[in-house]
Symmetry: none
Subunit: 239 residues, 2 copies
């Protein structure tokens, strides 16, 4: 199979996007002028303009009269009151194209941490599911999920690259009706940084979630690492 080469302006656009996403070109700053970039990438000005236009159209950059080209704030806002919805449903509702890359799915013996959060006996069998989730083709979160095998042994028959875990649980009358989430921040270590397409040590959200069914039994325990640069969360509390 012959691998098709990308046109030059797309290669440059990808490189610029990478610089935006890793913070080399920070949000709300002006990128170098078109002429300077054309020199740097050793392309003609029209090619350079095409690369920039692509990112303008995708919403990453904005042309400002007189000032130059601005790196836009492109954070995805998620509402915590909606966090029981499936990832795909939530993203689709925002007009964002979701995608899931299934990195791992198999049966394992639960670690002490997992046992504690799923209220399981020592070394009980659990399904472990590692998914990298995308929004508009950008990786945004790496999630590791544990589900007790005993409550839903049929889970192994599903393909979680396509199927939604929450919808599948619902089919087996194991709908998640309550989630308890702990929010922390940390620096991305190398593996996480590589998967999320950010620089090592950049700040990420680090969430631990327990999902409970109506009988208050934990059915899911997840560890999620959200890129800090393009995710934000809204919470609305009344009393």
């Amino acid at each position: 199979m012959v691998k098709k080469e990308l046109p030059k302006y797309q290669v440059i656009a990808n490189d610029l996007l990478n610089k935006i996403q890793t913070g080399i070109y920070a949000q709300n700053t002006i990128i170098p002028p078109e002429t300077e970039l054309a020199d740097k990438y050793q392309v003609s000005r029209p090619t350079m303009r095409q690369a920039i236009s692509l990112l303008v159209n995708q919403g990453y950059l904005e042309r400002r009269r007189k000032r130059g080209t601005l790196v836009k704030k492109v954070k995805i806002e998620q509402e915590f009151t909606h966090l029981i919805e499936s990832y795909s449903a939530e993203m689709s509702a925002k007009g964002i194209y979701p995608k899931t890359n299934l990195l791992y799915f198999d049966e394992e013996k639960a670690t002490p941490e997992v046992c504690k959060n799923l209220q399981l006996p020592e070394k009980a069998p659990v399904f472990k599911l590692v998914r990298l989730r995308y929004a508009n083709d950008q990786p945004i979160v790496l999630v590791t999920t544990y589900v007790p095998k005993q409550r839903i042994p049929e889970l192994i028959n599903y393909n979680f690259a396509q199927d939604s875990l929450y919808s599948t649980l619902e089919k087996y009358h194991l709908k998640v009706t309550r989630v308890i989430r702990k929010l922390e921040v940390m620096e991305a270590e190398e593996t996480t940084a590589n998967l999320l397409n950010i620089a090592v040590h950049k700040p990420i959200f680090y969430f631990h979630t327990q999902g409970l069914t109506r009988d208050e039994q934990p059915i899911e325990y997840s560890i999620a690492k959200y890129r800090g640069d393009i995710n934000s969360f809204i919470i609305d509390v009344q009393r």
Copy 2:
């Protein structure tokens, strides 16, 4: 100026702390034995012991008889459902000794960002309040708060090193009954890092909060920077 080199045990302690904070040494797990670590860092056992003792004294590690050295859980957990309580009330309820250092309090003209969040006309007068808040003598959050002057001109007479903003607002029938909070993460820049007693570029929580009174009018707009290493937040959502 001669740059002073850190003593070896401190360099090692910093490295261990980094491993704790990035989860390489996870909470509630045992770190490798002293002899193994001394080999790894190529130092003597007394030097290694000194490095560990430093982190034991700082509350990050705990020596357990027979089992080894445990990574302690040192995060302050705050529940989001309680976030309308005053800081002092919430900390005291957890048995944590709160303290507030008032860094700045004066009248200013609102910036466009503040106008938008407080629904004020351009350059309207606001009170700006900058507070560094402590838990058990450790700085944990730097908060900048804006309050519209017109709704409560008497605010200037209070001393917010001692007085609670929320209690004061209540006295004037401006009780905060709803908060909308946006959660982001960022790296601490130098000033913030110095005030919070963390290293530059360490991850911090970055919250923007709008506080509303019963008539749904914003009475407060705050920007809070929470240390990432000792704060965590719990959220509990049911449907």
